[in-house]
């Protein structure tokens, strides 16, 4: 195996060590980003211009079909019964009344479910999509309160729901661990994330902290949260012989197809998952038990199945963000320079998943210091497997870190922005790698000016009637990722039209829109000559809509495919072309054809090349190179979040009255949709700050606010006008110069709100959410 292959394989399994070795030996030229993407320098094309969503008309007309909206002939409707104990076994199962109820086609339990292999757990394989590694409905074991114990299929949803309510289950409960205290008492283990330990010690952070003339040491808590996309999880499944067809609401179609194939022990190619529209995902729309149960029931009943989880069902079956208990300590010199950063603590997860909420990741590269101690310990609880939720790690980790910095600034008598700038690192403080593109100081300066930061008063000093007013800020950060496995296919036809096909997803990020404009620009075609195919597992690539990496991944894939296309076109063009003699790296897409990059007059149109060659179309497919740029540089999106709050002195109610996000996220590809992504993240951050908490009853492990009436997310009146600005400085080491924009908005927002609340009231709340009882 050569280095390249080795690196590719390693990247797939996320075995970072091998990757690191490969990078040391690698020649710079094939590093993606070793040579900047030429598109970065296009200033007058489609990229960078605000563009309305291409799926807009369909969505505003209600004509975009989501997963539960594909009618299938002979379809049955599913209803799911959930366990009511956290651990033990099913003792008796009475399904008689349900089976006899009108319209019932099937009652499936562990007694008659077809054999299925355990679910491939996320990150154990490049295509694994499961939230846990349990086998679904294969025995009488109960692993969490809310686990599916029976599925009813009926001719109508009303009939299925009614029959489900007639099922009686008795359990033999076993002692379960359902409280944080009990879980901690049983001992914690080290957390691991993406194949690396969530533990890092540099120097002697504890000793330096003791010596430090200024310090902060405090504990911050963040609760469980749920994604609560407004579209509940749903899938339509049908078997044609041994082939499984799935309409899903998915942020990983290829992953889901592969994983379902493993579970049903068939070939990956026998499963086709499509998901043209996703009604919000935020990390939740991967593979959970409902798709598996739907497929199993469809098989058993030999009928198509629609399984649409109720809102309660989503809470029971789909994991959310886990809780954290973070200890943050920072030691500083009198001039504010940090000597020591400690960020340690506990999160909980289940024994069946591999995702400890990695709340220290932002701290690894946030600030300069010589001594670090970072550690995520894991305690185990019997609950539905927790999972990624928008900015896993950073969303809650920045709450601890950025509140602590605000507290330290107060202690030092220093402006918190100044304190941050004073600790701006020159290179990644824990990895030692250079930053690919970091302009957080510029973002702070621009944001502070626009927001009117200089108007901020001392804590508790501004009052308007019953309302105390305050300002706060915090830094947000989220890594640039590009997961291995990206691939794309470009089909160019003689009439000068191109179709780009890639197994990516549109969950509202604007993926389809921005990639159409990127492809058009790369190929030198007008927008209406380019179309994008996505959301189908049969298309090239294994691309997850997660980690804010889709656009980079698609970008790198299209670059690779275009190179193949250009090579092929140059071959077809032959010696009679103005392009004769040029290599693939010398030409680019220009004016509906190819042209020499530095001599655009040497041009031949696609139509002319293809007709001369007698071809109707050229198809080029290629995989993106492994993401070695990640090993070379420390790569992140950044933000400075500013917020103004009003806290009622009588009741403790908090209202956020103003927010400004100042972002440094590389080149902004579509200002219109990027602004929406930023705002959307910030708004979810307002929810995290003020109201969101999944109420997990520690007596029996049951989620008690499994509804949108009881689990509060921000409503319109909670959301002030949010201003967003950005540096727009391209990162020369990424495709298009772009960084991810989907998750950065939520990071830092929780701390910005808490810091503003402190500035308004003089009360420091270290425990999310900031409900009024904590402020009275």
């Amino acid at each position: 195996m050569n280095i390249l292959e080795q690196a590719g394989e390693a990247a797939k399994g996320a075995a970072q060590g091998v990757l690191k070795k490969a990078i040391e030996l690698a020649p710079d030229s094939w590093l993606p980003g070793g040579r900047p993407d030429p598109l970065i320098h296009h200033q007058h094309g489609h990229v960078g211009k605000p563009m309305s969503r291409i799926d807009g008309p369909l969505k505003v007309k209600g004509a975009a079909r989501f997963s539960a909206e594909f009618p299938l002939v002979g379809m049955t409707y599913a209803a799911v019964a959930f366990s009511t104990i956290a651990k033990g076994r099913i003792a008796t199962l009475d399904i008689k009344a349900a089976a006899e109820a009108p319209g019932v086609v099937l009652v499936m339990t562990h007694l008659n479910a077809p054999p299925m292999k355990p679910t491939p757990l996320f990150m154990t394989h490049s295509k694994a999509a499961g939230g846990d590694n349990l086998a679904v409905m294969q025995d009488d074991r109960i692993h969490w309160n809310g686990q599916p114990v029976a599925v009813v299929l009926a001719e109508t949803q009303e009939q299925a729901d009614h029959a489900k309510s007639l099922i009686r289950v008795e359990y033999e409960a076993e002692p379960a661990t359902t409280s944080l205290a009990a879980a901690k008492a049983q001992g914690t283990g080290p957390g691991q994330f993406m194949g690396e330990p969530l533990k890092l010690e540099i120097g002697d952070a504890e000793a330096r902290l003791v010596e430090a003339p200024h310090k902060i040491s405090a504990t911050y808590r963040t609760p469980r949260q749920n994604h609560n996309a407004i579209e509940p999880h749903a899938a339509m499944l049908v078997w044609n012989g041994e082939e499984l067809r799935v309409h899903d609401s998915s942020q990983g179609v290829a992953h889901t197809a592969w994983s379902l194939a493993k579970i049903f022990d068939i070939d990956e190619k026998q499963v086709n998952v499509t998901s043209p529209y996703v009604g919000g995902g935020f990390g939740s729309k991967c593979l959970w038990q409902h798709q598996v149960l739907g497929a199993a029931a469809a098989k058993l009943a030999a009928r198509p199945v629609r399984i649409a989880l109720s809102r309660e069902g989503v809470f029971r079956v789909v994991g959310g963000r886990s809780l954290t208990e973070q200890h943050v300590a920072i030691g500083a010199q009198p001039d504010g320079r940090f000597t020591s950063i400690i960020h340690t603590g506990v999160t909980v997860m289940t024994r069946h998943n591999a995702f400890p909420e990695p709340f220290i990741v932002a701290t690894r590269s946030g600030y300069a210091a010589d001594n670090f101690k970072l550690d995520v310990e894991v305690a185990y609880i019997d609950m539905v497997a927790n999972t990624f939720m928008r900015a896993p790690g950073e969303a809650v980790g920045t709450f601890g870190l950025e509140c602590a910095i605000d507290e330290l600034a107060e202690e030092l008598g220093m402006d918190p922005i100044e304190l941050r700038i004073r600790n701006e690192p020159e290179k990644d403080p824990t990895e030692g790698t250079p930053f690919s593109s970091r302009h957080i100081v510029e973002a702070y300066r621009a944001g502070a000016e626009r927001f009117g930061w200089s108007q901020r008063t001392a804590p508790g000093m501004r009052r308007e009637g019953e309302w105390l007013v305050g300002m706060g800020c915090a830094t947000g950060t989220y890594p640039y990722y590009r997961m291995p496995g990206g691939a794309a296919r470009i089909t160019l036809t003689r009439d000068g039209r191109a179709t780009v096909a890639v197994a990516a997803h549109e969950m509202g990020m604007g993926t389809a829109t921005v990639n159409m404009s990127i492809a058009a620009e790369r190929l030198g075609l007008p927008l209406d000559h380019v179309s994008i195919e996505y959301g189908d597992s049969t298309l090239p690539g294994v691309i997850l809509a997660g980690g804010s990496q889709q656009t980079a991944s698609i970008g790198a894939s299209v670059i690779a495919a275009q190179r193949v296309l250009v090579t092929e076109l140059l071959k077809l063009a032959g010696n009679d072309s103005p392009l004769a003699g040029l290599g693939a790296d010398q030409v680019g897409g220009y004016d509906a054809g190819l042209a020499k990059l530095d001599e655009p007059e040497r041009h031949e149109s696609y139509a002319s090349i293809l007709s001369r060659a007698g071809r109707d179309e050229v198809v080029a497919q290629a995989s993106a190179p492994p993401p070695l740029e990640l090993q070379h540089w420390s790569m992140h999106s950044y933000s400075a979040i500013f917020c103004e709050v009003r806290v009622n002195a009588v009741t403790g109610e908090t209202r956020v009255s103003r927010v400004l996000g100042s972002f440094d996220c590389g080149r902004i590809l579509n200002p219109k949709t990027a602004a929406s992504q930023f705002r959307g993240g910030i708004i979810m951050g307002l929810g995290l700050a003020l109201m969101e908490e999944t109420e997990f009853d520690e007596r029996n492990g049951r989620i008690m606010n499994a509804s949108l009436a009881d689990y509060h997310v921000p409503v319109h009146l909670d959301v002030p006008p949010i201003e967003v600005i950005w540096t727009d400085i391209p990162d020369p080491h990424t495709p298009m110069g772009a960084h991810g924009v989907g998750e950065i908005g939520i990071t830092g927002t929780g701390a910005a709100v808490a810091n503003a609340v402190y500035n308004a009231t003089g009360k420091r709340i270290r425990d999310l959410p900031l409900t009024l009882d904590k402020l009275m």
């Binding site: 007309k61 407004i230 997310v713």
Partner: protein, 181 residues
């Protein structure tokens, strides 16, 4: 024994358990109206019943007998979008689009309520004949429609631009300060 859906008479479902929402989605295949909670807690299923906004998930179809239902599919005039639908596109009033039909139907019902002078929780003077449609008024009145993608600003802007005035919306200038630092 029928319901008028977007102008066409539709028979009542035989099973009185069928909600208006499921009648639309499952029986009539009008899937534009969305189901986000089936509990009255999200507003995704909002439709207009005789012109008034209601949540169709908590309305039994039989309760709508003899009444006129307008769904998102009934708003556009042949090929031409309703001005509010166009404004949602222009102001980027959605991301995933799942809450969108409910937001749009709700806003149309809301505009009629405002016109009629119905006060809201944030209205200062309850006896005022006309109510100034401030941003706060619009936000309160739209609070029955959740959006998890966080398109709130664009939604209120689209509504303000359509029903109040272009000035009532936040400026959306591609070359303005929002677009470059």
């Amino acid at each position: 024994m029928s319901i008028i859906v977007n102008g066409s008479a539709t028979p009542l479902p035989p099973d009185p358990r069928v909600s208006l929402l499921d009648l639309l989605r499952e029986h009539l295949k009008l899937t534009g109206t969305k189901k986000g909670c089936n509990q009255g807690a999200c507003g995704a299923c909002t439709v207009l019943l005789d012109g008034e906004r209601v949540v169709s998930c908590l309305t039994l179809a039989v309760q709508a007998e003899g009444r006129a239902v307008t769904t998102v599919e009934g708003l556009a005039q042949s090929d031409k979008l309703h001005p509010l639908q166009q404004a949602f596109i222009d102001r980027d009033g959605f991301q995933c689009g799942y809450c969108t039909p409910g937001q749009i139907c709700s806003a149309i019902g809301m505009a009629a309520e405002l016109e009629r002078g119905v006060p809201s929780h944030v209205t200062g003077d309850l006896t005022a004949g006309t109510i100034a449609a401030s941003r706060e008024e619009l936000a309160e009145r739209m609070s029955g429609n959740l959006c998890r993608c966080g398109a709130h600003n664009g939604i209120i802007d689209a509504i303000a631009a359509t029903f109040i005035s272009k000035e009532a919306a936040q400026p959306y200038r591609p070359d303005g300060p929002e677009m470059a630092a």
